[in-house]
Every structure is written in C-alpha cells, then in structure tokens.
C-alpha cells in the first residue's frame, strides 16, 4: 500500500486502524524535520538521533490515542521539544545557550554535514527560547504562521510579534558580525 499521497491526518488514521506499514510511513515523513530540529537543540548529532528514536517510540504509543485536535506534526514537535529538554537536563546544561564542550569530537563527515545546524544553533543562541522556536519553525522550517502558532501553542499574533523581535535581534547581531543583511 502506498502512503505517499496521504495527508498527515490520513496517515495517522491508517496507523490507528492497524494498517501495516503506516507507522513506517509516518517515520519516513517526519524523521528528517525532527532530526534537524533536534540537531539545533542538542549539541551533537548522535544525541539528536537518539532523541528522534525516543520520540517515535513514544509516538507509537501516543498516536494510537491521537484525537486530531492538532496536526500530527505538532504532537511530534512538542514531544521532540520535551525529549530534547530531558536530554539537556540530564547533561546539566542550558539548552541552546552554550556551545558543545568538545565540538571536534564528532567525525569529520558529520561536522561538514551538520555544519548548518551548528551555525543556526550559534545564530539563535542569544535569543529567548520562544524567539528561537519561532525562527526555527517559521524561517528555517518554512512553516506558515498558523502552523507555527499551533506547534508552539500560542496565537498567530504572538508568533508575528516574536518573529519581528527575533529578526530585529538577528539583524543587529549579523551587522555586528559583519555579515551581509541586505
């Protein structure tokens, strides 16, 4: 059975009704986005992979009782955020505020592959947590204002205001760093 043309809600419905392969399709559809977000929130890609694995293990149980009050990605995004916070709490470090203690510990190919995630992490490191989320979801994940507000659990106006403040802060930082912001 092909799940490519199915919407997110349809995929979850098929999973809930016990159609084999539906959960694998959910994993294939969302794992890249969740992995990217986890790469920014955590300090190494191995932990990001562990987080995504844990999110889908929880999703296997949680999505069975999913009531479609929000989008499935919203549920997965919030779970990813919570698991990342748990990981960071275990490390006794503040999420996103500090650079990794040993950034060169990862293999060479990993450093090059995930360089963008590291740059974004350092870019948004000085922003408050809500502004970081808005920048990640709205700018880098290309989500709409509505999707962003649903994922963050706030109003659309709040998303716009947070995004405005965040872009002002980023522009100032980039000017200080001498980057082109035309």
């Amino acid at each position: 059975m092909s799940f490519d043309g199915a919407t997110d809600d349809e995929l979850v419905r098929q999973f809930k009704s016990g159609i084999p392969g539906a959960f694998d399709a959910i994993v294939r559809r969302f794992q890249d986005r969740l992995f990217r977000l986890a790469c920014v929130w955590l300090y190494d890609e191995q932990s990001a992979a562990d987080v995504v694995q844990e999110v889908f293990v929880r999703g296997y149980k949680g999505l069975r009782s999913f009531r479609f009050r929000s989008a499935p990605f919203t549920w997965l995004y919030r779970t990813t955020r919570n698991v990342c916070n748990e990981f960071n709490r275990l490390r006794r470090t503040e999420p996103l505020d500090d650079e990794p203690q040993d950034p060169e510990s990862a293999p060479e190919q990993d450093v090059s592959t995930y360089q963008a995630a590291r740059q974004i992490r350092s870019l948004v490191a000085g922003l408050p947590q809500r502004q970081r989320e808005v920048v990640l979801l709205r700018i880098f994940e290309d989500m709409s204002v509505r999707e962003t507000s649903q994922s963050m659990g706030c109003r659309e106006g709040t998303v716009k205001a947070l995004l405005h403040k965040a872009t002002e802060s980023l522009r100032a930082r980039m000017q200080q760093a001498g980057l082109n912001n035309e």
Binding site: F35, R36, A49, K61, L123, I139, N181
Partner: protein
C-alpha cells in the same frame, strides 16, 4: 532575508536523518512492544499456578468424600429404623417421701421495747389533748 541566511536555510533543509535511523526506530518500537507485553507469560504462569493450588485441595477433598461416603440406604431399611429415645431415670414417689428434709428453725418472737411503747402512748395522749382543745 539575506543571501547568507538563504544559504544557511538551504544547507539546513538539506540535513536529513542518518539512513540507519529508520531501522533503529523500527527495532526499538518492536522492542518496546515486546517489553510492554513481557508480563504476559509471567501472568499466565502465575494464574496457572494459582489455579493448580486452588484445584488440588478440591480434588483431594472430593476423592476422600467418595471413599468415605456411605452407600445409599434403601427405603425399606429406613422404614425399619425406630427412633430410640435416650432412657431417662424418672424418680419414684416413695423415694421422694423418704427423703429427709431438715426442719426449719423456729421463728423468733418479736420483742417490742418498752420505751418506745411509752413514747407512743404519750404522743397519742398529747394528740388527743390537742384535738380536744381545738374542738
């Protein structure tokens, strides 16, 4: 948005999960499914043991009952049975008369004190006098 930001966004969106991740997720989901049902064999074993423990005394009791149960009596044998009352020893009247009962002691005579009688008489006399006066 600046060109640097566009480049950064493009690089970011090109990040994909490692190819082994989907396999790892499938394995861990299967493991969690197994883990969530690991108590089933233990529960079945415990239930079986409890059922055995509960049933063994019952079978032993039923076996001993069968062995010790008397054969069913026939109606004729039941009809031949007479109710036997326990023999009670009734006392004989002559025996009752012969029983010696000790005599009751004599009733003591009541002795009135002389003083109290005098006082009573005096009181009566004074009452008579008073009555007489008022009349």
């Amino acid at each position: 948005m600046s060109d640097d930001m566009q480049d950064l966004k493009r690089d970011y969106q090109s990040i994909s999960a490692p190819p082994y991740l989907a396999t790892r997720i499938a394995a861990s989901v299967a493991e969690s499914r197994t883990r969530s049902g690991f108590w089933m064999p233990a529960a079945v074993t415990c239930t079986a043991i409890l059922a055995l423990v509960w049933m063994l005394p019952a079978t032993e009791d039923s076996g001993s009952d069968v062995a010790n149960r008397p054969s069913k009596p026939s109606m004729a044998a039941l009809a031949a049975l007479k109710p036997t009352k326990p023999a009670m020893s009734t006392p004989n009247l002559s025996q009752l008369r012969s029983v010696s009962v000790p005599r009751m002691p004599a009733k003591p005579k009541a002795v009135k004190p002389a003083k109290s009688q005098t006082n009573t008489r005096i009181e009566n006399e004074s009452l008579e006098e008073k009555t007489h006066v008022y009349i």
